[in-house]
């Protein structure tokens, strides 16, 4: 059902956890099946220094979370914003058709965390 890559990320998820006082936190729920994903970002200048996630969801949801954190670590915010749902699925060697929506969770949570970072910046500026 799942590719080896998916199973690898599911079994040994990278970057599980949370970042206390993260610069940006994004949480999204999957309206299709009711799953939840939260992503924490540690940002320095323009660069994502650290990233962690927590996910309540299926194998694909866990694997896409793990994958997306691996993909953005060390990247600039602009690069991170370019990561699409399809790119995450592709990086995992593909997902079963009825699980494609799960990859939305990962990219959406990432983008939500970046938005949260910008919102906090705005607020700090006053």
């Amino acid at each position: 059902m799942y590719t080896e890559k998916v199973m690898d990320h599911f079994t040994n998820p990278r970057n599980v956890g949370e970042i206390p006082d993260a610069d940006g936190v994004g949480e999204v729920g999957n309206p299709k099946c009711g799953d939840i994903m939260r992503i924490y970002l540690d940002i320095e200048g323009d660069t994502i220094k650290d990233v962690k996630f927590k996910t309540f969801g299926c194998g694909a949801a866990v694997a896409t979370s793990s994958m997306v954190t691996e993909m953005v670590k060390g990247k600039t915010i602009t690069e991170a914003l370019d990561i699409s749902n399809a790119a995450v699925a592709e990086a995992l060697g593909g997902l079963p058709p009825n699980k494609l929506h799960c990859s939305n969770l990962a990219a959406d949570a990432l983008h939500a965390a970046i938005k949260d970072y910008y919102d906090k910046q705005e607020k700090a500026k006053g």
Partner: protein
């Protein structure tokens, strides 16, 4: 790696004795039972013996058994065949919210095609109320279908009482006994049923074979047309090796049922109690004790998701199933758990272990050793568990 199969409600291995009997009919006694030569006649005899074995197991007459390609087809034949045959008497149908899809989807099809359907609710244990059935029956009700035991939570319905009621009111009563057969007594007379569905691959027989019991006198419009096999009720060259395997599986199940049920009940309770003891925030789904199938364990593990549990269990060799939205193609959680009033989040973390003939105490203990570690790992990953603990801490 140890492999522990705990998904016997999904399907069972074929008993070796059954399989080797089937082999003979695949490769040596392969005649078409409609042929008049000896190849055909030896197949015909074995087929009719199988009919006796299946009939004998459920207290029916052989002539009342129609073989089909499985439980699903038998359910379809019962519902669609009777609805069509009796449509002049009325167009009201009754079933329950916790039936298998083979029943529910079939009724839904009729509801979209000129019939009126009442779907009865169940209580939080998944059980039906006989009173509720009584109130639902109308003068134009022609057909009532209630499953004997539920495939997900193992709830055993008060089928005999409901059957008495149906008979009083002149309503045809169909029972899906796919999950109960071989685990608890199934007798068409004791249960007061008019039609009853059974399936071979749930009782250590081959897949692709089932049967519909139809009480003498009940009319059915067939669903498959052709050579007129099975007394015109179900055309198509008979799957003789499969049917013979099913017959043998019934014979074996009949001989072993009492012992097996006792053993399975012990394993069931050991597993259920063990899980409750070792893992926090776990809820048992379905009734406990005698109203539950001897081989069914169903629990909701809060704050984790079912498919992730299944995958993690599979990685240590344990095969189970889940009513989680993510494991079902449809992305809705189990309609059975929802009908029992369970919130989506909790249905999401449901886990079913269904025990079988080969399972041992060691199998159960292996699950009890592995499951807590898996739940812990997944909970560490879960934003919901976090949140719950923080909220608990804040209090």
């Amino acid at each position: 790696m140890r492999r522990v199969y705990l998904d016997h409600s999904a399907t069972t291995p074929v008993d070796p004795e059954v399989a080797s009997l089937m082999m003979t009919y695949y490769t040596e006694k392969y005649g078409n039972p409609s042929s008049i030569h000896s190849f055909g006649q030896e197949a015909r005899e074995a087929l009719e013996k199988a009919r006796e074995q299946v009939a004998g197991f459920i207290g029916a007459q052989p002539a009342e058994i129609t073989f089909t390609s499985g439980g699903t087809e038998a359910d379809n034949l019962a519902i669609l065949g009777a609805a069509e045959a009796y449509k002049d008497k009325g167009k009201h149908l009754i079933t329950t919210a916790v039936e298998h899809h083979a029943i529910l989807e079939t009724f839904e099809f009729l509801a979209k095609n000129g019939y009126e359907l009442t779907v009865l609710p169940v209580d939080e244990e998944g059980l039906l109320s006989v009173d509720g059935v009584q109130r639902a029956i109308r003068p134009d009700t022609i057909l009532l279908s209630v499953m004997h035991a539920n495939n997900e939570v193992g709830a055993i319905q008060p089928v005999a009482e409901i059957g008495r009621l149906a008979r009083e009111k002149g309503v045809i009563f169909h029972v899906d006994a796919v999950q109960s057969l071989g685990k608890i007594p199934v007798n068409v007379n004791d249960l007061n049923v008019d039609m009853l569905t059974v399936s071979s691959h749930k009782i250590y027989g081959p897949k692709g074979v089932g049967a519909l019991y139809v009480r003498k006198g009940i009319r059915l419009v067939p669903r498959v047309y052709g050579g007129g096999q099975e007394k015109k009720r179900r055309s198509g060259t008979e799957n003789t090796p499969g049917i013979i395997g099913f017959g043998k599986a019934c014979e074996l199940a009949q001989a072993r049922m009492a012992d097996e049920a006792a053993k399975l009940t012990g394993l069931r309770d050991r597993l259920m109690d063990g899980i409750l003891e070792r893992i926090d925030f776990v809820k048992v789904n379905g009734p406990r004790g005698a109203k539950r199938l001897p081989n069914n364990v169903n629990v909701s593990v809060q704050y984790v998701e079912g498919e992730s549990l299944l995958l993690s269990l599979d990685m240590v060799g344990i095969a189970a199933s889940s009513g989680s939205a993510c494991t079902s193609g449809s992305l809705d959680p189990s309609h059975v758990l929802l009908a029992m009033g369970m919130p989506h989040e909790i249905a999401h973390g449901s886990l079913r272990f269904s025990l079988g003939r080969q399972n041992t105490e060691e199998d159960v203990d292996y699950v009890l050793e592995q499951l807590p570690k898996i739940v812990e790992r997944l909970r560490r990953m879960s934003p919901l568990f976090d949140q719950m603990q923080r909220e608990a801490g804040a209090k």
